[in-house]
């Protein structure tokens, strides 16, 4: 586990919203990546898995469904910025402590692995398992 892996979910990353959670994540890669690189978000909150198709991704002030990022190769996730994941929950969650388990997989567009037809970008994964305190956030 590298130092940037510890930076993916910071102490103040989780917010309770009117319709669920908002989780701010920071990249574990050293350089900016296009939003198309956000390949894997395998997330559980308090042991309850989040369907990736239900996620929306907020980056640079705009919001996209997680499963519709394929055209976002000109939008960049800069190194010092958070991307916010919006996670709907049927019952509005409470403030307080919540366990975050996250497998974040970033597709690295300039590091190509494999040969011939199997050539594909390297998938750089980062695993987080920590409990953080949610605070209230009015927007979204």
């Amino acid at each position: 586990v590298g130092p940037l892996d510890k930076d993916v979910v910071r102490d103040d990353a989780l917010f309770a919203t009117a319709d669920g959670f908002a989780l701010e994540i920071h990249s574990h890669w050293y350089r900016a990546l296009p939003l198309t690189s956000l390949a894997v978000v395998d997330l559980s909150i308090d042991g309850e898995r989040v369907d990736p198709a239900a996620l929306t991704v907020e980056a640079n002030g705009k919001t996209y469904p997680f499963d519709q990022l394929e055209d976002r190769y000109d939008d960049w996730w800069f190194t010092t910025d958070a991307v916010t994941l919006h996670i709907p929950r049927a019952n509005a969650p409470a403030n307080g402590s919540h366990r975050i388990e996250l497998d974040l997989g970033l597709s690295i567009p300039y590091l190509i692995v494999g040969r011939g037809e199997d050539r594909k970008p390297l998938l750089a994964s980062s695993h987080t398992d920590r409990t953080v305190v949610a605070t209230e956030r009015k927007t979204k």
Binding site: Y30, P34, W76, Y110
Partner: protein, 343 residues
Amino acid sequence: MTLTPEGLPKLGITLFSLTLEMRRPDYSLENMVRRVKELDLGPGVELVGFQSLRGWPQVSDDFASDFRNLLDECELLPTAMSMNLDLARRRDRFMTEDEGLAYLEAQMAAAKKLGFPIGKSAILSTPRFVEGLARITDRLDMTFGVEVHSPESVDSPHVQELWGLFDATGSPRLGFVPDFSASMHDVPPSLIGAHRASGMPEELIALVGEVWHSDSTMPEKFARFAQEATALGASPGDMGKLNMVLTMHGRMDPRRWDELMPKVVHVHGKFYEIDEQGNEPSIDHETIMDVLVQAGYTGYISSEWEGHAYTDAVSGWDMCRAQQDLMRRLLAQAADKRVTHAH
């Protein structure tokens, strides 16, 4: 600003060494550049466009002018701009050759606007791509280098192939950027320490060290490590981490950089730690400085601390200061040896 004596390699830093410092709340590029001056880590400044510059490769006239003025004020010089060829930026297909050339040309133009004379990136090793790159460097009056980084070495097929393609263009503007990671004599002790601290089994640590030191090719090392680690019951996660030890740290004889020197346009002084005696325990800086001085290299060496990949227990600033002290001492010594040999 302390300069190395005339006729010797010049020193500088890549801001990539400060990857963790860039995540601090008080970070700004301007403060970072000023600190380079304060700590006397110049005169050369290299950076990674996609890391340090928001919106790269779009660079506004105002930003470019402010950046150049800042470097001037700090008596620093832009050396090489690290770029990337994001072949898999789209999910549905790889970039075509023409798209790749356009992608690099935009970054070269942005680098020039900021005052950088050299661009560096990985490239496609086809005649058409290399010829296109030669035309781009002509149009912009710039130089371009491909890094020779572990697991590549002087005699790896990819490097030999590029050498042939560079020569075929007849362009003096294309060359290589040797990275010290290709010529190490040990795995960094601090990396082993980090694996140990994270609970990596001792027998796997011993195995990867033994395989790393063995006299065999890279594919043979990967295969032997996979086989023996599996037999020891290694998890896929642990195997992945230790495979990186084989990938990131090459065991080429550092004297062999001499063969590459006619084509060297810039140097990456990759390192991982400096010990209490002021030496790098896994990279033979003395031999490398001898080779660079003997070859008459007067370009830049960028201090590139990469220990931040596995530790935040030390400061990238302190590490680069210590490596430059070491290189300064060894460059003076190498210059003395050169004079002695000449007599």
